[in-house]
């Protein structure tokens, strides 16, 4: 993909933009533009990956989790790694739409729809793994608190139950948040669609939104409070996910730094994934003047900031294990950088902490291609990070007699790459049916008085 270097100081909006032109361009992509060959090709690839995913899961249900590489002591493998990774990716979306909203960061308006969609699809992918990693997935409902004839309840001291509640809540809230944000744009699509059937469908979805003054003010109030609730939620969810490990006594898991650096890692992977998606899309759909270099630069800076926090997490973790003088924890940390998984241990450091440091350089910040590559590397690094956390910690814990190496099988890899299929398929569908940018908020931006627009900053 060829892209010209962009300036991170260019204005958030193209010159001479009007409400109508914004609405026309963005809704046009959905309601007027024909499916391009590029889209069809991309969708085809994504969908075939999805089918592979489906196949792998069918085989899994037929034979059991034994088709994966997991064993004793490493009873958790790819499934949990992928879960943590995907949930993390989701977080950036909520962060951008909620936290930046509360901080009045106007630049978020052109990308929050994007990242919110990303959140939904990432959570969808994540949600599958805890289910399929069960030994008896058909009994998943044992985890739900419902009045049964056995007189039994879930065991509420288990972080896995907290996790189930957190992820479910997170998924539902994200959907609601997404829909509410979408409501006015659905109305726009209703009114701008050329074909009646489109208008009917969007009309039904828009619930008859008319943009009445009182509606708007209640809407704004609700949106503000939801943002206020989503902010602690996004922190809590990955904190709880981190408790899946921190509550355990496994050396390498049992540390208080976990929630802090888990959240940071989550955001980092999310910003990275955001860049991975936005950069090609703004290129292929010619949205460079709406999603500007300034947006990319801001995302990149967030990526850089979080990568520094993660780095600090690694440092603290290592330091504490030395300082605590807990022999088991010390062994695990030493093994992480010198043991059988040392390559992973070093690679993840380089990829998710080292590489993002390039963003300090302006030229890199302004090169979409460079950012694209950095983002991909960072996400690989973060996947490795979770892999090392789960596998390397488990493979040599307290009793040396039960130390064993873990090797992923082809089914492990199929489920990993298959989940990309699900994610991309959903994403390709999204760019066909929903506006990629929040039009109503953009219009708001159009009518800002000059000077009222704050200087950008992350």
């Amino acid at each position: 993909m060829r892209t010209t270097p962009t300036s991170e100081l260019e204005p958030l909006l193209p010159p001479g933009v009007t409400d109508d032109s914004i609405s026309e361009r963005i809704s046009g992509i959905v309601v007027k533009r024909k499916m391009g060959l590029g889209w069809i090709g991309g969708f085809a690839i994504a969908f075939s990956l999805l089918m592979m995913f489906n196949y792998a899961i069918a085989v899994l249900f037929a034979y059991g989790v034994g088709i994966w590489g997991i064993q004793i002591p490493v009873a958790w493998g790819f499934a949990i790694v992928n879960f943590v990774w995907w949930v993390g990716i989701g977080h950036a979306g909520t962060f951008i739409s909620a936290v930046l909203y509360l901080c009045h960061q106007e630049w978020r308006t052109s990308i929050n729809r994007f990242t919110e969609s990303m959140t939904l699809f990432a959570v969808a992918c994540a949600g599958i793994f805890p289910l399929i990693h069960l030994g008896r997935p058909w009994l998943f409902y044992y985890l739900f608190p419902y009045p049964n004839t056995m007189g039994l309840w879930p065991q509420f001291r288990s972080p896995l139950i907290w996790d189930m509640f957190a992820v479910t809540t997170y998924a539902i809230v994200s959907v609601v948040f997404y829909f509410v944000g979408l409501l006015p744009d659905l109305a726009t699509l209703r009114d701008r669609s050329p074909h009646r059937w489109q208008r009917v469908i969007y009309g039904l979805l828009a619930l008859g939104w008319r943009g009445a003054g009182r509606q708007w003010s209640r809407y704004k109030m609700a949106y503000l409070i939801m943002a206020g609730l989503a902010t602690p939620l996004v922190v809590s969810v990955h904190s709880i996910v981190s408790l899946d490990f921190a509550v355990g006594i496994v050396p390498g898991w049992h540390t208080t730094i976990m929630p802090f650096y888990f959240v940071a890692a989550a955001l980092q992977s999310g910003f990275a994934m955001g860049l991975i998606l936005i950069i090609p899309v703004r290129h292929f759909y010619h949205l460079k003047d709406i999603i500007t270099g300034r947006h990319l630069a801001n995302m990149a800076k967030l990526l850089l900031a979080t990568s520094l926090i993660v780095g600090h997490g690694y440092f603290t973790d290592t330091f504490m294990s030395w300082y605590s003088a807990d022999p088991y924890d010390k062994f695990i940390v030493a093994d992480k950088f010198s043991g059988a998984y040392a390559i992973g241990g070093w690679m993840l450091m380089i990829l998710d902490v080292g590489v993002p440091q390039l963003i300090w350089i302006r030229a890199v910040r302004q090169s979409p291609v460079a950012l694209f590559v950095i983002a991909i590397l960072a996400n690989v690094g973060l996947w490795l990070d979770h892999f090392i956390l789960v596998v390397q910690s488990l493979h040599s814990d307290y009793l040396p007699s039960e130390w064993r190496m873990f090797y992923g099988t082809k089914w492990d890899w199929m489920t990993l790459f298959g989940s990309f299929g699900l994610f991309l398929t959903l994403f390709f569908v999204f760019i066909r049916i929903f506006p990629m940018v929040a039009m109503s908020e953009m219009r708001g931006l159009v009518h800002k008085k000059p000077g009222e627009t704050k200087e950008q900053g992350a």
Binding site: D19, F165, P184, D191, G208, M221, A222, G444
Partner: protein, 181 residues
């Protein structure tokens, strides 16, 4: 008057958001109460112009969140202490620290669901058909048009007088809103 029955109200279009806000303020000052604006985005100052504060929504959010958080905690307490008390790894039956995360999540979930539902209900949504939509031009309200509607049910509503008031307020164009299309 007889014309009250025929039409829903008068729909005035304004050049832009600022004009609309100014116009709305004037119309309100003129004593009209059954007034509503229609805009493609949330124009700042409209609620003030309409003398409207969305207090109820906030209350609903708060109440829903507190209730479901309490429900969540009680569920955990009931299951672990009352229904089937079990010795889990020597932990106390009422291990309240372990019950906090779910309590919080339940609070957020309940709050958001309740609040958004409340917002929709207060906004009378879904409502698929509305008289103002009988005006062909109204379709632009979701893209780039800024409308102010004075409803005929307003006690001060008088077809001609109201129209003149609207025009003085800066409306670029005033059309009748028929009750049926």
């Amino acid at each position: 008057m007889s014309d009250k029955t025929k039409i829903y109200g008068l729909l005035a279009e304004f050049a832009g958001p600022d004009e609309l806000v100014r116009g709305t303020e004037e119309v309100s000052e003129a004593g009209y109460s059954r007034v509503e604006t229609y805009t493609p985005f949330a124009v700042e100052g409209i609620s003030e112009a309409l003398h409207f504060r969305p207090f109820a929504v906030a209350v609903i959010f708060l109440v829903a969140a507190l209730l479901s958080a309490a429900a969540g905690y009680f569920m955990e307490y009931y299951a672990s202490v009352i229904s089937y008390p079990e010795n889990i790894g020597g932990r106390p039956l009422h291990s309240w620290p372990s019950f906090i995360p779910i309590t919080f999540e339940m609070g957020v979930l309940g709050g958001v669901l309740g609040g958004v539902l409340g917002m929709l209900v207060l906004n009378r949504l879904p409502r698929y058909s509305h008289p103002v939509a009988n005006v062909e031009r109204f379709r632009a309200a979701s893209s780039d048009a800024f409308f102010l509607c004075v409803e005929s049910s307003d006690p001060r509503f008088q077809r001609e007088l109201t129209e003149s008031v609207l025009r003085q307020a800066g409306a670029t164009q005033v059309t009748e809103v028929p009750l049926e299309s």
